[in-house]
Symmetry: C2
Subunit: 345 residues, 2 copies
């Protein structure tokens, strides 16, 4: 398996990507193709003790870097020799199995959509993170790729999220819930009302396991495996949850550090606290799939360290090895609304 | 001051309301008028050791009870002799200063809007809880009264939230943020884009202290005093935060209870944990104001115990003593969009 990694994307590039790539090549049995500035990549390899390009690593030269200042929709065209554009072109050309980047989310989404293209019939690609909880986590789809959604997009997210949960979390019959402000079918805005009807129909046809509307509270307490929502609401959900987690971890830190006695108290629960922190450490998951693109594309978070990049490469490998894209392609006819709003660019 | 309390509203009625009323009458120097079934109220008073109606308590007879099964929009009309309808009628007639209920939110909102009426010019009343955080909390407006909002509603929420934060939290120049999926003015759906422009204008005119878009994460970490949003998004925000809090408190409980050694560890941080729990205990705040109604109406949560009802009465007293409604009335001309969508029922 060959995975292309944007060596110039993210706050800690190129060192973190190079570090993650070397670890992945050593331990996962994959080849990693680093797209980016050869000299800078070589300098990082040397820093990590490699005087030559190690086995399992290739360098794909690209002289430009897409930054957060570039226009996300046009960056890949304006910087044709960027690490992102060059890497995605190689994926498109069938010379690799997946692409990973910690660069600008918007630029990656635009470039993947317009260069690699969506799966035929898919209206919008979705960002599909696994949200960690104490009960093991669930798939959130979409968390912000498309703010303004139609019911048909959400129907497609429900199918894609189901396949993603089956193929990557190994769930047999994932429970799909629609994020809403109450459990009753009458709750929500017109988007939720119409989506509820579409998901109910897909459930009755035996295509998805729709359990109805669900509130954020119940989702976080283990009530769902696939949480379907528009990108605006999904993003609000995720950022709020993140804020809560940051607040708690800050509280715990302050609490245990306040005196010698609390520091001793900490020692009694150290194991549990470390397990808890590990569950919620974004570096552990590493990457979020852009589901709906015709080839595997993974977004690593911007502040990724080498370990996070390594984990993002693991996600890319899992996705490339899975039948996720085939599942979506084979069932696309059930994800369309006849005569529905097309909204295709 | 005279405060009417719906003695039949909430999961623990009538005992919890009666308990809260007695405590309030004893300690706050207010008269509490209990609307509801006299025999049941008397039985509760006896249970609490009062053979006669104590000083500061009155009973306002009402033979019916609005339940969660009643249609929220019509309940107050269909049950004309309900504790909610009779109590609100008394408020409307000017025979008391505020009304408190732990009954159905939807029924209370409809009844307050249609019987007591909104402040002239206010498009929608908003549910305006104080969201507790480690940094002291902020006002969320709206948390679910109106799911489908126009930019004008949100402009009005920004003003009303500002006055509420000034009058009840004592803040001089509360920072108003618009809940969104990024800080840049270009972020969000058309609702957020248009609202951002309106709030910017109100800020430039010196009427509110608008700090721009804010994400849920930053809001929870202390970045805002008044968080403005539509009722759908506000409800998603609140329920997600609640879910995170529940998950976290569940984690702490399990962690500290897992062995004798962790139980000893708990003793070292007991004080901090109890302070933390107190901050986030919904019974401490007790009630959420329905801001925009022409007289003070407070919703206590459905599962309120006597202490929560007592605190809801405190909130009602604060609101009745404050100049909140006068502030809104005096500034209503600045909260309208000339030629804007009226959307008045």
């Amino acid at each position: 398996m060959r995975i292309i990694l944007d060596a110039m994307g993210g706050d800690n590039a190129p060192l973190a990507p190079v570090e993650g790539a070397v670890k992945a090549a050593e331990t996962l049995g994959v080849d990693v193709i680093l797209s980016g500035k050869p000299q800078e990549i070589m300098a990082c390899l040397e820093k990590l003790g490699h005087k030559e390009v190690p086995k399992g690593i290739e360098i794909l030269p690209a002289s430009q870097v897409i930054t957060m200042e570039d226009n996300p929709a046009r960056a890949f065209k304006e910087k044709k020799d960027s690490s992102m554009t060059v890497g995605l072109q190689k994926l498109k050309d069938g010379e690799a199995d997946a692409f990973v980047s910690a660069g600008s989310t918007g630029a990656l989404l635009s470039a993947a959509t317009l260069m690699v293209k969506r799966i035929r019939g898919i209206r919008r690609a979705a960002m599909c993170p696994v949200v960690p909880t104490q009960k093991g986590g669930f798939v959130l789809i979409d968390c912000g790729a498309t703010a303004d959604c139609t019911p048909e997009y959400l129907l497609q997210y429900a199918f894609m999220g189901t396949y993603y949960a089956k193929r990557t979390l190994g769930l047999e019959n994932p429970r799909v819930g629609l994020l809403n402000i109450g459990a009753e079918p009458s709750k929500g805005l017109p988007l939720q009302l119409e989506t509820h009807a579409l998901l109910t129909q897909a459930h009755q046809e035996g295509r998805i396991n729709f359990i109805g509307n669900i509130e954020g509270r119940e989702a976080l307490l283990g009530g769902v495996d696939v949480l379907v929502t528009d990108g605006f609401t999904g993003n609000i959900f995720m950022k709020t949850y993140e804020g809560g987690l940051l607040m708690f971890s800050d509280f715990m830190k302050t609490m245990f550090k306040s005196s010698l006695s609390t520091k001793l108290g900490y020692l009694t629960v150290k194991g549990q606290v470390e397990d808890f922190k590990k569950i919620f450490n974004p570096n552990e998951i590493g990457g979020t799939a852009m589901v709906g693109i015709s080839k595997p594309v993974i977004k690593a978070h911007g502040s990724s360290n080498g370990y996070a990049i390594y984990n993002a490469i693991c996600r890319a490998k899992e996705m490339a090895e899975s039948d996720l894209i085939q599942d979506i392609t084979a069932n696309i006819e059930h994800m369309r609304i006849s005569g529905g709003k097309t909204a295709e660019e």
